[in-house]
Amino acid sequence: MTALNFVGLLLARIAMGPDPDDGSFWMPPQVSTVARSVDWLFNFILAISVFFFILIVVVMVVFVIKYRRREGQQAQSSPSHNTALEITWTVIPVIIVIVIFFFGFKGYLDMATPPANAYEILVEGQKWKWSFNYPNGYVDENLHVPVDRPVRLVMSSADVIHSLYVPAFRIKQDVVPGRYTKVWFEATEPGEYDLFCAEYCGTSHSDMLAHVIVHPPGEFEIWLEKASNFLETMTPVDAGRKLFQVRGCQQCHSMDGSAKTGPTMLGVFGRTENMADGGTITVDENYIRESILEPNARVVAGFEPVMPTYQGRLKDAEIMAIIEYLKAPAGASQEE
C-alpha cells in the first residue's frame, strides 16, 4: 500500500532527524537501574504488537486483493462460524496478555520498593517550580544526586497536583497536596537530564522543568557542601537573587516590572504602595520582612491575599539576603 510506504518514509525521516538525547528510536537514554527492564518490556510488547499488526494488515490486504469484487461473481461460501478457530484466537491473546501483565507487574514492584539505605531528598512542587530539600536543610531548584546510589524522593505539593517525571530514569510519580508520595531511583550514568512536570498544573505547566544532575562518585558531597554555604560564599545580593529564584518568589513577583500574581519587585524598595485596606506604605526592610513572614497582613491594592507564609521556611540570614537583593539597583537584579 502506498500509504504504508509513505508512513515508512516519514518514520525514517523522523528517525534521522535531530535526536540529541542519545536514546534509541523509541526511548531516551537509560540512566537508571530500572530503565533497562522497562525498555526490555517495551521492546517485548513492541515485537508482539508489530507481529500482530503486520499479521492483521497483511491478511487484510491479501483478502482485499484476492477476493475483490469481480463482475457477475458472488461471494464463495464458507462457514459463518468456527468455534474451535474462534476459541483459539481468544485464548492466544489471553496467554499473551498474561505474560505481559506478569513482566509489567514484576518490573513495577522493583520500581515501587526502595532499598533500605536510600538517600532521602524532600521535594516540594508548587506552581511552577520544583524545590529539592537536601538532608542538611539546603534547598536547590535542581535535583543533584550521586551516581550509583539509591535516592528516595519524598514529595508534597503546596497547591495543586503535580507529577515528577524523569524520562531518562523511567520514573514518574504524582505529587499531591495534603499527603506525601514517594519515588526512588538509582542513577547509573553521570550527566545532566531533564525533569518534567507531567500533571497539568496551569499557566506555566510546560515551564515547570528542572535538571537532574547526576554527579560522578565523590563529587556529590563536595557540590552539596559548597552549595549549602552560599550565604557565606556569595555576596548578600547574589545569595538573595539565588533565594529569590530557588524559593519560588519569582513565580509570582516579576523582576521586569510586569505584575503577575503579586506586584513586581523591580525597584520595589522605597516605593510607595497603596494598600488594599486604603492606606499607603513605603516599602522598607520591615515591610519586606513582614511580607515574607506574614504575607497577608498588609496586601498591596489590586492583589489577592494568596501568598503562603515563609515563617519557618527561611532563616533570618536568608531574609536579610533577599532584602539586600531587593534593595540592589535594577542593574544588579537584571544581571543573570
Binding site: A3, F6, V7, L10, I14, G17, P18, D21, F25, W26, P28, S37, F42, I45, F52, F53, I56, V57, M60, F63, V64, Y67, R68, R69, A75, Q76, S77, S80, H81, E86, W89, T90, V94, V97, I98, I100, F101, G104, F105, L109, D110, A112, V160, S163, P167, A168, I171, K172, Q173, D174, G178, R179, T181, A198, Y200, C201, T203, H205, S206, D207
Partner: protein, 567 residues
C-alpha cells in the same frame, strides 16, 4: 396513519423517489422539526448539531497544532493554549463523540432495523435532544464567559481553584450527561420491547448489540459522572471540601469518581463504532458475518469489564501497589474482546466479494488504525511501561488512534453507509475515495509521530517544549493540515450530494437488515407493512437489479409479517 404510506406501491418495493411522502417532507417549517417526535428527524437534528460540534472541536485542534509548530509562543499565549486544549477535549468528548454515533445513526437506524415505527419513548427522545441543546449551550457559554483551563478531566484541586468558568462547563457536561442517559435508556427499552417477530436476541443485527451494550454503559456509568460534576460544582460554589485537601478532602477521590465514568465512557465511544464495522464489513464483503455470537458476546463483555478498569488511569497517583496490580490485570482482560472482534471481521472477508466503496475504505482504515490503537494499549496497561508513558504524548496518540482512528473513522463509515438511506441521495464515490485517503494519511502523520515523541518523554498538555521535539511536532502539525483538507473535501461532496446527488435506491449496497426494506428516504411511519426479521446477514437473499441500480429481495414476502387483525 395510512395516508403516510398509501403512496407506496403495494409489493414491498418502494416507489421511485419523485414527490413521494417521506419523513423529510412530512410536515414543513422549523417547528415541525424542533418539536417532532419522529426518531429520524431527531437523528438528523442530532447529526447536524453534532457535526457542528465536531467542526468546533476541530477548529480548536487546528489552533493547538498551529501553536505547537514552534516551541514557545507561535500564535497564542500559554493561558489561551491551555483553554484551547481544554475546549478541544471537552467539546470533542462531551458534545461530539459520546453522543456521536448512538444519537445520530443509532437514533435513525435502530427503529428501522427493528422494523418499528419509532423508539419506545419518543417524547423522551425529543427531551434528550433538547437537553443536549441546553447542555451544549451552557458549555459553549462557558467559552464566552472566560473558557476553562483545567483540561477536559477537571482534576481537583486545580479545577476548584482556577479562576476560569469551570462551573458553566461542568454544568453543561452534567446536562449533556442526562441527555446521554435518556438516549441509552430509550434504546434499552426499545430493544427489549419492540423487536419484531422473528428477531430473537441472537438474530439481532450486530449494530443493535453494539448500541445495546453502549446503552448499558450510558445508563450505569453516566449518573456517577453526574454526581461527580455536581460535587465539583458544590466544591467551587459552596466549599463542601470533599475534594479539597485544605478542607479535609481528598483530591484523588475525584479521580476515582471521574474515571469510574470516563473509562466506561471510552467504550460508549468505541462500541457503537465496532457495531458499525460489523455491518459494513459483512455487507461490503458480500459475506455473512463470521462468528456472530462471539461478536455479540464480546460487546457485552466489553460493556461489563469496562466498569472494572478505571484505576489504570491512576497508576502514578500514589495508589497502593496492590490496587495497581489488580487494575492492570483487569485492564488486560478488556483487551481480549476487542481482539476477538478484529479477528472475526478479518475472517468475514475471507472468500468474500469485496467492494472498495467509501464505507469499506473507512472500514479498512478502521482495522489498520484500531489495530495500532489497540496494540499500543498494551504498553499502557502494563505497569512498568505505563509509569514511563503515562501523561506523555504516547497516551495522546493512543487515545486518538482509538477514538479518532477507531470511532470517528467508523462514524464516517456509518455516515457513508447510511447516507443514501437517510437523505435518499448518493454522493460522489471518487471524491469520497480522495478524502478517505487524505484522512488516512493525514491522521497517521499527525498521530504516529506523537507515539515517538511520547515515548521519548514529551509530556502532554505542554505549551512550550524542548528544542529536540520540534521535528516531531512539525510533522504532526503538517499531518493535521492534511487531515483538515480531507474533511473539507468530505464536507463539500456530502453537501453537494444533498442537492445534486443521484437518487438513491432503497437498497444500494445489498444489506439484509430491515432498514434497507423501506424506501430511501423512509416514509414517515418507516414501513408500509408490519415487518418480520430473518437472518440479518443472509446476503444471498438479495440480488442486484440494474434497472433501479439497487438490490432487491428475491422473496419480498420473507420479511413481511402476517397481517394482524388489529391493524
Amino acid at each position: 396513519m395510512t395516508d403516510a404510506t398509501t403512496v407506496l406501491t403495494g409489493d414491498g418495493q418502494p416507489a421511485g423517489p419523485g414527490q413521494r411522502d417521506s419523513y423529510l417532507n412530512h410536515g414543513k417549517g422549523v417547528l415541525s422539526w424542533l418539536f417532532t417526535l419522529d426518531h429520524k428527524r431527531i437523528g438528523i437534528m442530532y447529526l447536524a448539531v453534532i457535526l457542528a460540534s465536531f467542526f468546533l472541536g476541530g477548529v480548536f485542534a487546528m489552533f493547538i497544532r498551529t501553536e505547537l509548530l514552534t516551541p514557545g509562543q507561535t500564535i497564542m499565549t500559554a493561558d489561551t493554549y491551555n483553554k484551547m486544549f481544554t475546549l478541544h477535549g471537552a467539546v470533542m468528548i462531551f458534545l461530539f463523540i459520546i453522543p456521536g454515533i448512538p444519537a445520530t445513526l443509532g437514533n435513525f437506524v435502530l427503529p428501522l432495523m427493528l422494523g418499528a415505527k419509532d423508539v419506545a419513548l419518543p417524547r423522551l427522545n425529543l427531551a434528550s435532544f433538547w437537553l443536549w441543546l441546553i447542555g451544549a449551550s451552557v458549555a459553549v457559554a462557558s467559552i464566552i464567559i472566560g473558557a476553562v483551563d483545567t483540561g477536559w478531566t477537571f482534576y481537583t484541586p486545580y479545577s476548584t481553584t482556577t479562576g476560569t468558568a469551570v462551573v458553566a462547563m461542568t454544568l453543561g457536561a452534567f446536562i449533556l450527561g442526562f441527555s446521554s442517559i435518556f438516549t441509552g435508556l430509550n434504546f434499552i427499552v426499545t430493544i427489549h420491547k419492540m423487536r419484531p417477530e422473528g428477531m430473537t436476541w441472537f438474530r439481532m443485527p450486530l449494530f443493535l448489540w453494539g448500541i445495546y451494550s453502549t446503552a448499558i454503559i450510558q445508563v450505569l456509568a453516566t449518573p456517577v459522572l453526574g454526581i461527580t460534576l455536581l460535587l465539583l460544582i458544590a466544591e467551587r460554589t459552596l466549599g463542601v471540601g470533599i475534594f479539597d485537601p485544605a478542607l479535609g478532602g481528598d483530591p484523588v477521590l475525584y479521580q476515582h469518581f471521574f474515571w469510574f465514568y470516563s473509562h466506561p465512557a471510552v467504550y460508549i465511544m468505541i462500541l457503537p463504532a465496532m457495531a458499525i464495522m460489523s455491518e459494513v464489513i459483512s455487507v461490503f464483503s458480500g459475506k455473512h458475518i463470521f462468528g456472530y455470537r462471539f461478536i455479540a458476546w464480546s460487546s457485552i463483555a466489553i460493556a461489563l469489564l469496562s466498569f472494572l478498569v478505571w484505576g489504570h488511569h491512576m497508576f502514578t497517583s500514589g495508589q497502593s501497589s496492590l490496587t495497581n496490580m489488580i487494575f492492570s490485570a483487569l485492564t488486560f482482560s478488556v483487551a481480549i474482546p476487542s481482539a476477538v472482534k478484529v479477528f472475526n471481521w478479518l475472517a468475514t472477508m475471507y472468500k468474500g466479494s469485496i467492494r472498495l466503496a467509501a464505507p469499506m475504505l473507512y472500514a479498512l482504515s478502521f482495522l489498520f488504525l484500531f489495530a495500532i490503537g489497540g496494540l499500543t494499549g498494551l504498553f499502557l496497561g502494563s505497569l512498568s511501561t505505563d509509569i514511563h508513558l503515562h501523561d506523555t504524548y504516547f497516551v495522546v496518540a493512543h487515545f486518538h488512534y482509538v477514538m479518532f482512528g477507531g470511532t470517528v473513522i467508523a462514524f464516517l463509515a456509518g455516515i457513508h453507509y447510511w447516507w443514501p438511506k437517510i437523505f435518499g441521495r448518493m454522493y460522489s464515490e471518487r471524491w469520497a475515495q480522495v478524502s478517505a485517503l487524505l484522512i488516512f494519511v493525514g491522521f497517521n502523520l499527525t498521530f504516529f509521530t506523537q507515539f515517538v515523541m511520547g515515548s521519548h518523554g514529551m509530556p502532554r498538555r505542554y505549551y512550550n517544549y524542548l528544542e529536540r521535539f520540534t521535528a516531531y511536532h512539525q510533522a504532526s502539525t503538517v499531518g493535521s493540515f492534511i487531515l483538515m483538507i480531507g474533511f473539507l473535501i468530505m464536507a463539500g461532496y456530502l453537501l453537494h450530494s444533498l442537492v445534486r446527488g443521484e437518487r438513491a435506491p432503497a437498497n444500494p449496497w445489498g444489506g439484509a437488515t430491515l432498514e434497507w426494506e423501506t424506501a430511501s428516504p423512509p416514509p414517515y411511519f418507516n414501513f408500509e407493512h408490519e415487518m418480520q426479521a430473518g437472518d440479518p446477514y443472509d446476503l444471498d437473499a438479495l440480488s442486484w437489479d440494474p434497472s433501479i441500480k439497487g438490490y432487491v429481495r428475491r422473496d419480498p414476502s420473507s420479511v413481511l409479517a402476517a397481517p394482524r387483525g388489529a391493524d
